[in-house]
């Protein structure tokens, strides 16, 4: 069941240039599955429409988000101080596949702030006995405390465009990408996800991609965020944001 809640900011920390890790607290938060998202109302009416933000992690009393302040709405949200209240609608959409046979190998590929929803997915896969690895394409390195959360769970491979840290090149050129997996799940810029999906398809590996189209309602009512698919135009907010890439016509 979806809820609209007023949550209190209990932490708001810059974890990489342009990334805020925000912890919100409340009571009776509805259950969340990895890859789902929330709509956050921009404080002070900075934007009329709420901002869709993927869920980093959630419990019955906490919601963790990683937000890049790129527009008026996300800037106003990132400016929230500890103790401020934010209006949140959650949980929204359909997330990643989480059920695999024990011992399956899954690669999680994140680009930029798209690594955020992969954290909860990684936790879920590890708990389920799945062998998960993580491959990130980054421009700026998150701080050690933030990275530690992923590193504690699984092998992490990092790529950068300029070689400033990690592997120099695109995620598709990383040796870890060439291994066999039972599934690749990803979130990041569309060009990255298209390249990953094409390579996965060539190798017969199923893949899931989390999309981020511009949306208004987040509930499947306005039909603004549609993505063309083999089944016609589907709403990223309701039918996604995670889609099996075999369905996408991108």
């Amino acid at each position: 069941m979806k809820k609209q809640l007023l949550l209190t900011v209990s932490s708001n920390r810059v974890v990489a240039p342009g990334w805020h890790h925000m912890v919100l607290e409340g009571t009776d938060l509805p259950p969340v599955t990895p890859g789902q998202f929330v709509e956050v109302a921009a404080p002070h009416g900075a934007t009329l429409l709420n901002r869709p933000i993927s869920i980093f992690d959630a419990t019955a009393t906490t919601l963790e988000l990683v937000i890049a302040p790129v527009g008026d709405g996300t800037k106003a949200i990132c400016d929230a101080k500890v103790g401020d209240s934010l209006r949140v609608i959650m949980p929204l959409g359909k997330g990643f596949t989480t059920e695999f046979p024990v011992g399956s190998k899954v690669l999680l590929v994140g680009g930029g702030v798209g690594i955020a929803p992969l954290y909860m997915q990684l936790c879920t896969l590890i708990d389920a006995g799945v062998k998960a690895e993580v491959l990130f394409g980054l421009r700026s390195r998150p701080d050690a405390e933030f990275c530690k959360q992923y590193e504690a769970l699984a092998p992490i491979h990092i790529c950068t465009d300029d070689g400033s840290f990690g592997h120099h090149g695109l995620v598709t050129s990383h040796p870890a990408f060439g291994q066999h997996y039972d599934m690749i799940q990803m979130c990041g810029p569309k060009p990255m996800m298209r390249a990953v999906a094409a390579s996965a398809a060539e190798r017969g590996i199923p893949a899931e991609a989390s999309l981020e189209n511009m949306m208004a309602c987040g509930l499947g009512a306005c039909l603004c965020c549609v993505e063309p698919t083999e089944k016609g135009n589907l709403c990223v907010c309701k039918d996604g944001p995670v889609f099996n890439t075999s369905l996408l016509t991108w």
């Binding site: 809820k3 609209q4 009329l48 209006r87 309602c217 499947g220 009512a221 039909l223």
Partner: protein, 302 residues
């Protein structure tokens, strides 16, 4: 409710005047987690056409100051899908449902109305002659008195119950169009549909919408809508349903004072999905605080 909130659109009696606008509320089910749909006076479901429509290409939406542009283009699975799969799900809510009917040709509007007519629990349809986002039909019918009258008259003959006609603000005189559809047999008029608008991404040097132009809605359009409702309510004898930027009980009361017998919440459903379910109670509170025992006492006092 302490206040008498009931309102009458001709033969259509509503428990309260708060409806939701077509295209902003899906089929109602999308909002069930956020309100009891029964709290609404009525809810108007997505624009329904004879054939299924995929709508326009992405991007279909752009934010604007205190509002938004949309160019959805009437994406819907078609009237037969609605009748077979959606309508049976309403059960006790049937009396709250109004179907918005759209088309490219007069015959299409008529055929949709004919197919909906056997749904006895469906008390009203809203004729959409004002959609700015389709190439053929839509707003083309709503911008001339002859066009508006001819589609209204044709559907009047095919539809036996309440016929509401939704008017476009993109005209020289909305009053003339309202009078034309009244003369052609409309039972009520709803206004305003979206204002045609446009926005450009200057960095990419491209329009924000795939269709270049689209329909503008949200709080920014409210003063235009209030003015048009006031003008039309003075000119016609049939009831007027007001919409355009309503985000609160105060906004709804403003439209009623301007002459509206009922109101529709539109874009604000995207902002606060529980708002439409809450506004009737908030109107009731306002009336109690202001010594108003029957809401419709306020209708058209300006």
């Amino acid at each position: 409710m302490v206040t008498d909130m009931s309102t009458q659109l001709g033969d259509l009696v509503l428990s309260n005047p708060v409806m939701t606008a077509s295209g902003t509320f899906g089929y109602g089910f999308e909002y069930e987690d956020f309100m009891a749909l029964d709290n609404l006076g009525a809810f108007i479901v997505k624009g329904t056409t004879l054939e299924p429509r995929q709508g326009n290409d992405y991007p279909r939406m752009a934010q604007t100051p205190a509002g938004m542009l949309n160019a959805v283009g009437l994406q819907n699975p078609g009237v037969e899908h609605f009748i077979e799969h959606t309508w049976p799900r309403y059960g006790a809510l049937e009396s709250k449902v109004i179907v918005n009917v759209s088309g490219a040709k007069i015959e299409d509007y008529v055929r949709v109305a004919e197919l909906l007519a056997p749904l006895e629990g469906l008390r009203a349809i809203e004729l959409n002659i004002s959609c700015p986002n389709v190439k053929q039909g839509g707003m083309a019918f709503g911008t001339t008195c002859d066009g508006a009258a001819s589609v209204t008259r044709a559907v009047r003959d095919a539809w036996p119950r309440h016929l509401m006609v939704k008017l476009s603000p993109n005209v020289t005189s909305i009053t003339d169009i309202a009078l034309a559809v009244e003369g052609a047999g409309a039972d009520s008029v709803s206004l305003i549909n979206t204002l045609m608008g446009m926005a450009i991404d200057i960095e990419r040097r491209r329009p924000m919408l795939s269709t270049v132009t689209g329909g503008m809605s949200g709080p920014a359009v409210k003063p235009v809508a209030v003015r048009m409702v006031w003008q039309v309510a003075k000119a016609v004898k049939i009831p007027v349903v007001g919409l355009g930027g309503i985000a609160s009980a105060a906004d709804a009361i403003e439209f009623i004072m301007a002459g509206a017998s009922a109101v529709q919440i539109g874009t604000y459903n995207f902002v606060d999905p529980s708002a439409a379910g809450r506004i009737p109670a908030e109107i009731d509170s306002w009336c109690q605080a202001h010594g108003v025992s029957r809401l419709m006492e306020l209708k058209g006092i300006i």
